[in-house]
Amino acid sequence: MEILASLEQSAFSAWVRESGSLWAYPGILFMHTIGLGLLVGASTAIDLRILGVASRVSLAPMERFLPIMWIGFWINAVSGSILLVADASTKLTNPAFAVKMGCIALAVVDIFLIRRYVFRDPGLDRGSVSPIGKTLAAMSLLFWTAAMTAGRLMAYIGQDSGAPEFFNRIGG
């Protein structure tokens, strides 16, 4: 935690929080939304298909969309780390952040399980997806919804963000 405290004090973190540059806090938040769009977007489409929507679409070629999800994941891992480091003392004590990280961990493990039980299933595209596969897809939708909800609620639960002008608390 010492490391995080000192990172939070670093010049880079100060720039993220305080520079007022569009490429700092706002830009990083924007990248985080893009990553979310790629990751959760692609995941949602694949999960829906596994659950039976658009059932004439072959599942096997949809595995080609997994790299999009990984691109989104890494964009968010990097942008998320920057956001965390710039504000570690408030975020690390925010229960919503802990829930978000937990849900993301579960969702990522779920991706690997879906690859194993759906895309590597010898019976893929010969009849509907196995019950395990469908359960994993439903859980994936749930985990990502929970992660997004927890992420949004970070602005409303816990301490105010350390970023001065860019207060998270908005709306009602």
């Binding site: 569009l22 806090y25 706002p26 938040l29 924007f30 939304t33 893009i34 979310l36 769009g37 790629l38 959760v40 977007g41 692609a42 995941s43 949602t44 489409a45 829906l48 298909r49 929507v53 658009a54 004439r56 679409v57 072959s58 096997a60 070629p61 949809m62 080609r64 969309f65 999009i68 990502w144 919804t145 997004m148 909800t149 949004r152 609620l153 602005a155 409303y156 860019f166 207060f167 908005i170 709306g171 009602g172």
Partner: protein, 165 residues
Amino acid sequence: MLVSFANWIHATPLGWAVGGGVPWLWPACETAHFIGLALLLGCVGLFDLRMIGMAKGLELGPLQRLVPWGVFGFVLNVITGVMFFAGKPYQYLNNYVFWLKMLFVALAGINVLLFYATGLQRRVEAVGAGEHAPAAARVVAAVSLLLWFGVVYWGRMLPFLGTSF
């Protein structure tokens, strides 16, 4: 005219509730707005990416059956968007970034209309596994992706470039 609409909707019970009368409602709408975003970018986005040439093993006709879910996401966002507007109309009305976002949504809508009106959608429906979509479809798809990411950009920038919140 917009001002009178804004005043009218803000004075409704909905406007009161979203604007702070029911405190959890605003965050709930935001969460729903993100879910709509994920559905829209995911389902329409993957369709666009296939038209551009990714994951060629997919047939385009069946893949289109995912698009209605993307439309559902869009509708969810229109509903929650109207709710945000009802709750705090002036942070949107007076914010040029909001109007840019609406412009991009309108342009994306025109793009979709052209996709159908020109008969391009018919041609795309017939594209099979391993086949290229027509060049015009690739343009429509690229424009679609650019515009929707633009909508996300302007939306994200509402508090920063503009005067919201």
